[in-house]
């Protein structure tokens, strides 16, 4: 029994069909519990008031935005090295989820920033990095959409993902450097480790787990869809060959 058994599309589909209902329920339950706990059973921050509670969406979304890209990187590597189709399709399936998570993080960040910092947007390193990450996601998805042949698309996007990861990390450091160069310590960024008290951190962990489960469920579900779409394509092509 090896992990690579799940690289077989059929095995993957049957297993994920069994796991998915549990995942959906667990994800929904922990997000609901986490959000209710966070919204209604934590005190308001003495400085930020109730706006602080957006943290329960903002932070988990940001976390998953980065992890989704990381998962795509791993899946791309598996495709390049072992050439399992499921892996390539999982990377394809994760990208839109990742881009939505990035968007949620950006929007909730703006909503949070407006009352706190007095501006919807600041060129803070962390914010800017997320914007750049968003652009990387867009390019990756656009390349998948542009290429007809699925294997070629998988190959090209995997290499783009590898190269993009290196440049994304570079951008992160470049942005950090760039902003210090501009603002000299007048940065608006919140040091989360210091600011978040225990009262907030427990429901936050629950939300994080919930978002992670939701991400997993969405990726499994979407990978299944991609596998079926790929299967249909293959069947149509074969039919054309036979006639």
């Amino acid at each position: 029994m090896s992990l690579w058994e799940y690289a077989n599309p059929k095995k993957f589909l049957t297993t994920s069909e069994r796991v998915l209902p549990v995942l959906w329920i667990a994800a929904a339950a922990s997000i609901v519990v986490g959000l209710i706990w966070g919204f209604f059973f934590t005190p308001d921050d003495y400085r930020q008031g109730s706006t602080v509670k957006i943290i329960f969406i903002h932070v988990p979304a940001a976390l998953m935005a980065i992890n989704a890209w990381f998962m795509m990187l791993v899946a791309s590597l598996i495709w390049i090295i072992r050439r399992h189709h499921v892996s390539a399709l999982a990377a394809k399936a994760a990208a839109p989820v990742g881009v939505v998570m990035t968007l949620i993080a950006l929007i909730t960040g703006a909503l949070w920033g407006q009352p706190m910092w007095g501006t919807w947007w600041a060129w803070d390193p962390r914010l800017t990095s997320f914007l750049v990450l968003f652009l990387f996601y867009l390019g990756y998805i656009a390349l998948w959409e542009a290429i007809d042949d699925p294997d070629t698309a998988a190959d090209l996007t995997s290499i783009l993902c590898l190269v993009g990861s290196v440049f994304a990390v570079l951008s992160r450091y470049a942005v950090l450097f760039w902003n210090q160069g501009l603002h000299q310590g007048a940065s608006l960024s919140l040091d989360k480790e210091e600011n978040v008290a225990d009262v907030f951190s427990n429901p936050l962990y629950v939300c994080m787990i919930g978002f992670a489960l939701l991400f997993l469920a969405l990726v499994l579900y979407r990978t299944g869809t991609e596998i079926r779409a790929r299967r249909i394509k293959a069947l149509i092509a074969r039919e054309r060959l036979e006639s």
Partner: protein
């Protein structure tokens, strides 16, 4: 150098089109590929030329031996005929560039056009230039995909002369064509190698 193809399968758009193709091309011989449109001649030639990996089977004796001529001639319209040929002679590392290109131009009757920008050539003249490129590569195995398209009968005659001389000098040629070139080569009908759709198994790794 003998080009050996063993049990080769090739795919186009992810589907196998030919399977189990085997042949050996010895120096001094020509092999003419026949088969209806869409059978996979171009795909086979591109695989042999190393432009795409074989799906199954193996090819040997092709490394750095093949001069490939596809449907497109790779001609730069703003360069003259002589400049186009000079470029390819230099890319293929010829030391005697001048000699090589004048030889190739005289064989394909391009001398009068040497200083003409290639963009001004007619379709047939362009094709002749594309075929002259094969000569300047000095590679022993010529792999040609429909070489006689848009050539007039005199040029076809000239072309088969050139191929014959090439064979006499120990070269070989793999040609996909529908016209009779009058070459004493082996004919290979690809119809028998048409890939059978594999039995409908359940979901396998390759989606095929």
């Amino acid at each position: 150098m003998t080009l050996t193809v063993t049990d080769l399968s090739v795919t186009r758009g992810g589907l196998p089109v030919l399977s189990g193709v085997s042949f050996a091309l010895v120096p001094g011989e020509a092999l003419v590929l026949r088969g209806p449109n869409g059978i996979g001649k171009t795909t086979l030639l591109r695989t042999v030329a190393g432009l795409q990996p074989p799906y199954m089977g193996s090819i040997s004796g092709h490394e750095d031996q093949i001069a490939y001529a596809g449907h497109l001639d790779g001609i730069k319209p703003t360069l003259t005929v002589a400049e186009n040929l000079t470029f390819w002679a230099r890319v293929f590392g010829r030391s005697d560039v001048k000699y090589a290109i004048s030889d190739a131009m005289s064989d394909f009757d391009l001398e009068g056009l040497a200083d003409r920008p290639a963009g001004n050539l007619s379709a047939g003249q362009k094709r002749r230039l594309g075929l002259a490129r094969l000569m300047v590569t000095k590679r022993p195995i010529w792999v040609m995909d429909e070489p006689t398209v848009s050539l007039d009968s005199a040029s076809v005659q000239r072309f088969s002369e050139v191929v014959r001389t090439h064979l006499e000098h120990g070269g070989s040629a793999l040609i996909a064509t529908h016209t009779d070139l009058g070459l004493e080569g082996t004919l290979l009908d690809l119809g028998v190698y048409r890939a059978e759709p594999t039995a409908m198994d359940d979901f396998d790794g390759a989606f095929l």
